[in-house]
Symmetry: none
Subunit: 233 residues, 2 copies
Amino acid sequence: MSTARYEQVKEHVLRRIASGALRVSDRVPSENELVSKLKVSRMTANRALRELAEEGYLVRVAGVGTFVAERRVHAHPLEVHNIADEVRARGHEYSCKVLKLAEIEADETIAARFGLAVGARLFQSLLLHYESSTPLQLEDRYVNALLVPGYLKVDFTRQTPHEYLMHQAPLHRAEHTVQAIVPDARIAKLLKLGPSEASLLVRRRTWSNDKLATIADLYYPGSRYELSGTFKP
Amino acid sequence: MSTARYEQVKEHVLRRIASGALRVSDRVPSENELVSKLKVSRMTANRALRELAEEGYLVRVAGVGTFVAERRVHAHPLEVHNIADEVRARGHEYSCKVLKLAEIEADETIAARFGLAVGARLFQSLLLHYESSTPLQLEDRYVNALLVPGYLKVDFTRQTPHEYLMHQAPLHRAEHTVQAIVPDARIAKLLKLGPSEASLLVRRRTWSNDKLATIADLYYPGSRYELSGTFKP
DNA sequence: AAGTGGTCTAGACCACGAA
DNA sequence: TCGTGGTCTAGACCACTTG
């Protein structure tokens, strides 16, 4: 089984952009040119260019041509970022306090979210991430002990879970939900929230090799954090 | 100019889901069945079903069939969707109440967000979108009167702003921020929120032809709405 | 064996924009 | 007028699942 032809065409165009052969606003080979150069049918060339345009890499104008799109300005808010990099990119000091780091057995709730049996071995970490001495994110994370056996030995004041996990179990898929909640007293205290301040809760599940590697509940102070992003159709 | 055939097929399937004729996990007509019933080619049926699957409405399994997807999670937070389609795809009834629809002059705040002069002509709509008689989204929208002159004449109980604007000023770029807030009393009442319930605020700015066409503040009940997204590296 | 989705082709017609 | 993207068709081959 080989890759689909339209995927090969997509990769061909992306490589030409990556190599610098095609730059922003350059004209990309037309469908007919791809037909003769790459020996594919026009429907195949069309699907390749259409999907690249949907994904934001190209801009197509009927009657004119296809062009390399401008680079997407901002990162997608639901991409998996390293919070330490984010903070430092804003020119602030990053630090982290480890509130909990332990092996646990999955109770019913966690087992259901993980799709594992009750009593399965898990590691849990509860970390508070600071931006220049202000709490920015409370991270409550559960990790599949079988996939990431060394998790308990990590010094999370020196290395974020993101950095460690990217090495141990590179993610293949991530799923997020975003909710607004009024946090309970414990969370409000940790995040130094005012009495009637909301919190943004991002629940993330991350898969590695089709196995659920980690679940993270990320709490942000509603007043001090915004997810943002740009979308091009 | 008529709508593309594959779009008609997509709408046909979405309508059958909306009407309840197709429920979650039901089998959707196969490509070959659509070919004979709707008199389209298989490539056209394929594109329709493939795109609906990409958009999360359907799940396809090679060798087995196409099925209505579970939709407990909601739209991708940073894509611009039609809320009526979303609600109907979940098999619920969509309705909309128009709370305000008027021409206004930009005050300082709005003028700054729009990048226009104070006193510029704008249209404002305040709409409450319902999912089966439960408020799902409060939409406070400002529209550039020069770009969309007919906005005040639209019957938003029959057509969402999304549907109308996609025709009048197709979006080229959208920018979002997502926040958690504790809403004021007016918003809480409209969304039928409990006393200590948070709200998700999505602020969206949409450009058409490099001109800022519309600004929308979208309020969701924190307890009844989740934004979700899947990320593949 | 029959049906499904996944893909690919060669050819076609259209509206549009540029020369 | 010519090239472009946008769409559509009829038919084909494949791998896979299910009865």
